[in-house]
Amino acid sequence: MVHHSHALTEESGRAGLAEAVASGETDTLDRRMAALCSYARKLTRTPATVSEGDVAALRRAGLDDRAIVDANQVVAYFNYVNRVVEGLGVELEERWPAAVRTRRRYAGDLYAGLPTLDPAALPWLSVDQMREVDRLMVDEVGIALEQMMENAGFNLALLARLLLGGDARGRAVVVLAGPGGNGGGAMVAARHLAVAGAQVRVLLGAPPERLAPVPAHQHDILRRMGLDVQAGGPALGPADLVVDGLLGYSQAGPPRGDAARLLQATAGRRVLALDVPSGLELATGTLYTPHVVAEATMTLAAPKQALRSPGAAVAVGALYLADISVPPLVWERLGLAHPSPFGTHPIARIGGNLDASLR
């Protein structure tokens, strides 16, 4: 990375280009380079899934067969040389500045092999439909709210680990938990992250006596575990990651009170939002002030319509979908065809723009 990020900056004259390529944010790249990077990423991560359609995508981007052969050679060469480096413990030369020599992670979700889902192949639910999913899960399937919440929080903790570079141990995580189901899921994530070795603090968006019954149960568990749980909107303090579970899909109107104060304090922090970023009213797509600016949002069961409204993008960040085991009969009752997207992993990225250019 270090050697060729430097070379790419020199060759292109564009300072931010290497970071954009490394993170898969290809919006700023021209079509050819975006297509080349998509092909490179796919052939590196999942070589057996590359198909003739991927080569056709390169042709559509204006590359002839010789260019495609050359691109393939560069991808193959760097997979070779990366393995020389990792297999023999090759260190960066002394000439590189100390700040550059510190090893860091680049792949993030790529590293965990998370699949990417085609947004067009998913049902995008209204708030009423999501409420009906939850009702059917409890009333018709018999899956209790505690069970759904456990799956949500477990997956949220899994994604938090990935955003922390694959290891939560010793990392400072601040969990913001509201009084409803969203806060309950965040408190489940707080428990899993604390058990995994993270330094977890939980800040409640409402006084403990206002917690709904199931979130109150989660809160009780955290207290028995001796976790640092506070209410009343104290300062966030140091955090490698902030988990936003203040407001869920039912939120309406601008955030108020302690929740609003906590949301304001998230400015400039790395935020992972559960289900919906706090401050985004899903029923209308209105983004209120204050709201979180999430690096990633992990939504549950199926994406909600307002999460893809243009005005919401700044708050949503990268959108992930997590499994809470909604069976086919629930989707059938809603009149939706929704084959499970969780065949390989309980969390998937929805429509990363890098993969979008392959279509």
Partner: protein
């Protein structure tokens, strides 16, 4: 530096090449492939080739 030995004349080489000077034939073939693929005639521009290098190395989490 790396976890394996290198020949005495490896000084001046980048560490990735110095790491396999114990097999000079493989090293020569490596360098020839590198030069051909990254600097040889191609419809791909230099920046495009470096962008592929960055995309692959990021996907492999290879910091070097």
């Amino acid at each position: 530096m790396s976890w394996v030995g290198a020949t005495a004349d490896a000084g001046g080489l980048d560490n990735v090449l110095a790491s396999h000077t114990l097999n000079p034939g493989a090293l020569r073939a490596h360098v020839a492939l590198y030069r051909r693929v990254m600097f040889g005639d191609s419809p791909l521009g230099r920046a495009e080739r470096e962008a592929i290098a960055v995309a692959v190395s990021a996907a492999n989490d290879c910091h070097y």
